[in-house]
Every structure is written in structure tokens, then in C-alpha cells.
Symmetry: C2
Subunit: 359 residues, 2 copies
């Protein structure tokens, strides 16, 4: 079962071909996160970016609350290969500054600009700099007339707002943008993106759930909101916003893409939940396999199973598998038994050896 | 946006009306988890059950690998108000023993029984004891003829297997059951349940993803698989299987239900992700609010926001909200400003006071 992506044009983030990221249906879904520290703290921001750069993050966003933050952009950009997105809110002059200082992309919620007359200037500058823009819509930035028309920031209202801004920006002759339509209510967020996609356009979409919460509720909301849309082929770049470390945000994004077969840089490890049937230290084994295979950068499926109940059948579904019984187990390769009666302590090393040989 | 549940009959779990759980579209979606320890260790199992009993778990499942495990059922049952599900695999004699020892429900994968002729005996005994059954289907238990017909444990094959067992069990005159159709591949699992539901029947469904993995990937897969179906009205009881503590499993289930407006026992807390704009210790604040409101047992929405950018608009969407600025913030009640300029240290206590008064 493979996912047919909604056809979109490509948004190019970054002018240097060696470090640009292409967002749209012809390219892998790009993962983003947003630094938690102050952008003005250049060293701290670089250190934070480095924690996710090799983990699979494709694009990094920075808060842009001041002109000093904008001035930090070239210093930060010099130390990372990830394209930089400047996150702008009320003050369009900060958008201009960020573009002047080399932001590869700016994120704006036009509905939040204190002076809408700046919008044209921002778009024109982005065009001139060949920068990308994310046009964001959410309940907080919904225009008053739409709020009144719909009575609340409904999915319909949010989609209508997004389509309005798209028309406006395209009227200015600008095409290099993506759109986000976020809500902290998962069903509203899902329906809003569906409505936008159904309206008929080829604008690439950035998916996210606002204010998702701490690790577990945040992971749940992001997986559900972002994943539901991706399963329907909607979405070209994603961010899982979670009130936790940004490493977790990237891990959640990767897990979402992996669970849908949309991630091609790493192995997908299938583990059974532990239960009273288990005779081995499964979480330890799973961690070991994860650690040991992280460098593979290949989309192989590895099953790590703690008992024989489901193992035999399900191991056949993975390229590589351990099916562990009491103090010993079996290795499978491409659904066939490869080696039986492997002692528990040798299971993971033997699996790794097999993967090294065959993958 | 409220979810219209697929109409099902009711499966009654437990014979004592004071402690039975009703599963079906006329009742709240029930949360289950499965003890990790050995069922034979009665004290340990009771202690494990207690960690989730007050947390919102409705039904508890126990591994049933031996007759000693079956003998433990009445001892464990005496110390919990949760209905007990005995998890049976290859040996149907353990199903008979579990029912004899008072299991409120048994979970069987008929495709796994080493001797299918026992099935009728198991069903007849469950009927006599007024026990419930979960009939499980997954890749590991898929019948050989269906595997050959479909070439793999596809969604179609799994749904066909489930419908076959439903016909067989109903032919025996048994109705008090739910069905699960699990896969470790989220899109396959989702499609299998959709196919079963579309086949036209009123059998309640137990939702789960097999071998989902460690906390983050496991939470992602469960949220996506279970949540997607619940959003479509499919599913009457759920278990999030995660290679971690069972408390986490229950938390994930609750988060899934909350994010879809299907959980009515606790407040729903909306928090913004932290970013460079934030001037307060938001995770700490969210934790404090969570801890302090856990006893409420009411479905109020509480927003905890770390900056003014999205706060004003989005706080209006929640019954209660903190919108925090630099070292101080504002309280909102039902979308209206309730109190401005509250010093940071007093924000949470003031919010709690307001909730105590109004909720």
C-alpha cells in the first residue's frame, strides 16, 4: 500500500544548490524543527542545530523577535548546512531584516502583521532574494471578518483565510511559497488542510498542529494530525511541535514518516510490546538494534520479537528479524529461517552481522 | 466537529453490574492495557494493575501461558475493580481454564489454536459463563489458505479472515464478542478495519497496532492507526501497545481519545511548543497545571501559552487560559480577559483558583 501524493509545484528553500531543500510532491517530505533558545545567542543556537542536523532534520526555524536576531542569521548560517527559516510575527520590518540578512525562508502569518501595507514589500523582497515564504494561518491570526462570518476559527474559516492569502501573494507574482493551516484541535486541523487541498491548487503544504503539548499528548496529536493527512497524500514538509527538546520533535517526525513508508534514510524497527509471555530483555535488545543500525541509512525493515507467538508469522514480513524464545531465538532473512537456536546473548550481534552482509 | 460512531451492538465484559464494562457505540471508548509481569506472580500483577486503575484504564489483560496463570485469576480479580481479560494463544485448553477460573473475557486468535476442534467448546463455555471474547486476527495467525489466496497478510486478507471467524462464532449462537484485526503496518491495519466495518455488521471493534515499538515510534504508530479509525467513527475499545511501562500505554490511549474529543473524564490541556520567543518556564507551568487539575474529572479545556503571539486568539478557544508575556501574564475565562498583569509566580495558582470557582 503506497501513498499517492497530492501533486504540487516545488518550493525551493535556499539559493545554493549544494544546500537547498526542495519541498513538494516530487521530493521526499522534509522534516523541520524550531530552535528553543534565543536566536541572538549565536553559539547556543548553533549547538542546538547540531543536535538535529545529523538526526534527519532538513530545515531549521529560528525565532525572530528582534533585529539582533536577524543579524545572527549569517553567523548561524555559516555553521550549518540546513536552510534557515526566520519566524516572523507581528512586525513585517523583521521579515525585511531577516531577508536582508540571508534567511532562506521566512514564515509569516499575514493576518498578524500590524501593518498589512508592508506585505507587498516583503513579498517583493523575497522574490528579489529568491527566498521562500511560508504563509501561515491559524486561529490566532484569523481575520476578523472571517471569524465573524464563520462564528469561530472553524476548518472552513481557516481554509478560506489561507486561500485568500494565496490569491493575494500570487497576484503579486510570487510562487515560491508553502502554506500552513494550523489548529490545536486535530479534527479541525485535518479538515482545514483537506478543504484547502480540495479547492484545487498546487501549493505545497507545511503540516503542523499548534500547541500540541508535552511528549505523549504532543506526539499523539502530531502523529494523528500530520499522519492522517500524509496518509491521504497531503503534506510536503512537516514539523511536530512538542513542549520538549527539539531532538524529540525530529524523532516524532521521523517516526510518522517511517510508519507510513515515507522515510527512506533509516531502518524501520518493529518491536513487539512486552508482556507476561516474554523471556528476554526486549527493550534492551531493541535499543541495541536501534543504536547499531542507525548508521545504515537504508530503509530495511527489522523485526525484534520477544516470543514465538507472533514472531513466526510476522517475522516473515520484515527483511530481517529476531524471533526470540526462552534464552535463545532464531534469525530470519527475507521471511525464511536463517539460523535457529541462537543463544540470547548472541542474537543481536548475529543479527547485525547478517544485516552487514546482506543489506 | 464531533465524531459519529459506527453503530454497533454492545459487548458486556463482566457479569457483576457494579464492575462490568460495556463496549460498543452506545458507550465511551474503553481503554485497555496488558500487564507486563508474569500473571502467576499475583502480588506483582495486582501492584501493576493498581498503577493504571486510577489513571483511566477500563479493562486489564493478562498473559495466560500456563494453568498456574489461570489459577491466579480469582486472586487478582478480588483485588481490582477492572474486568480481567485472559490472553490465550496456541492452547485452547488455557482458554477453558481461564473461563473456569472466572476471566471476564478471553482474547483468542482462533487461527493460532493448535486444535481448531476446541473452538466450539471454548465458545460454548464462554456463553455459559456469560463471558466476553475478543476474536483476534493478525498476520501471525492468518490462515494458510488466505495467505496463499492474497499472497501476503494484506488488509483484504486480514478482513476476510476476521469476517470468516465472525460467521463461525455467530453460527454457534455467540454474540458477546469484539473483533481485532491487527498489523504492525499502520496503513494495512487502518485499511483492514475499514474493510471489516464496510462489510456491514454491528460487531464492536478493538483497535490496536501490533509491535508498535518504543515510546516515540510506538506512540506515533498507535496514535496514527487507532486515531485515524476513531476519527472515522470506527473503534469501541483501544489498546496502545508500546515497549514501555503500561502507565505509558494508558496515557497514550487517553491522549488519543482527548485529541479527538472522545475522553470525558479529565481536562484537556493545550500547551504551546517552546521556542525562542518564550520568556517563562513553560514546561514547568504545564506540568504544574496538569498535576493540579488531574483530580477534576471534567472535560474542561485549559490553554497554557508561553507568549502573546498566538495566545490572544487561541486562548479564546479554551474555557480557561493563561496567556503569558514577559514575567507576567493574563488569565482568560470563556474567551474573555479575566485578569491581566498577573505576575509569573502567581499565574498557575490564580488559574487553579479560577478553575476551582468556575468548573
Amino acid at each position: 500500500m503506497s501513498i499517492l501524493r497530492r501533486t504540487t509545484r516545488t518550493c525551493t528553500i535556499g539559493t545554493d544548490p549544494a544546500r537547498q531543500v526542495l519541498v513538494g510532491s516530487e521530493h521526499p517530505v522534509a522534516i523541520q524543527t524550531m530552535c528553543m533558545g534565543k536566536t541572538e545567542d549565536v553559539e547556543g543556537t548553533i549547538a542546538e542545530i547540531q543536535t538535529v542536523e545529523d538526526l534527519g532534520c532538513d530545515i531549521i526555524r529560528l525565532a525572530m523577535p528582534s533585529f539582533d536576531a536577524a543579524k545572527a542569521i549569517p553567523l548561524i548560517k555559516a555553521k550549518t548546512k540546513l536552510p534557515i527559516v526566520a519566524d516572523i510575527h507581528f512586525d513585517p520590518r523583521l521579515a525585511i531584516a531577516a531577508l536582508d540578512y540571508g534567511a532562506d525562508k521566512i514564515r509569516i502569518n499575514p493576518g498578524n502583521f500590524f501593518d498589512k501595507s508592508y506585505l507587498e514589500k516583503v513579498i517583493t523582497l523575497a522574490k528579489q532574494k529568491k527566498a521562500a515564504i511560508r504563509i501561515g494561518v491559524n486561529a490566532g491570526s484569523l481575520e476578523k471578518d472571517l471569524w465573524e462570518k464563520h462564528g469561530a476559527p472553524t476548518a472552513e474559516a481557516l481554509a478560506e483565510s489561507a486561500l485568500r492569502w494565496v490569491n493575494f501573494v500570487e497576484y503579486l507574482g510570487f510562487q515560491n511559497f508553502v502554506v500552513s493551516i494550523k489548529s490545536e484541535r486535530v479534527p479541525v486541523m485535518v479538515e482545514a488542510y483537506q478543504r484547502f487541498a480540495a479547492a484545487g491548487n498546487d501549493v505545497p503544504l507545511h503540516l503542523g498542529v499548534t500547541h500540541a503539548g508535552l511528549l505523549i499528548p504532543g506526539t499523539v496529536k502530531n502523529a494523528l494530525g500530520i499522519g492522517t493527512l500524509l496518509m491521504q497524500g497531503i503534506g510536503d514538509t512537516i514539523r511536530a511541535s512538542i513542549t520538549d527538546d527539539i531532538v524529540k520533535e525530529v524523532e516524532v517526525c521521523k517516526s510518522i514518516l517511517k510508519s507510513l513508508g515515507l522515510y527512506s534514510k533509516e531502518p524501520d524497527i518493529i518491536a513487539c510490546p512486552t508482556c507476561g509471555r516474554i523471556e528476554v530483555d526486549l527493550p534492551k535488545m531493541v535499543h541495541e538494534v536501534e543504536e547499531a543500525t542507525r548508521h545504515l541509512k537504508k530503509p530495511v525493515r527489522i523485526a525484534v520479537m520477544g516470543c514465538v507467538v507472533n514472531s513466526v508469522g510476522e517475522a516473515k514480513e520484515s527483511e530481517f528479524a529476531i524471533a526470540s524464545g526462552k534464552h535463545a531465538g532464531a534469525l530470519y532473512y527475507k521471511g525464511e529461517l536463517y539460523k535457529a537456536n541462537v543463544p540470547e546473548a548472541e542474537l543481536v550481534p548475529e543479527l547485525l552481522k547478517l544485516i552487514e552482509e546482506k543489506a
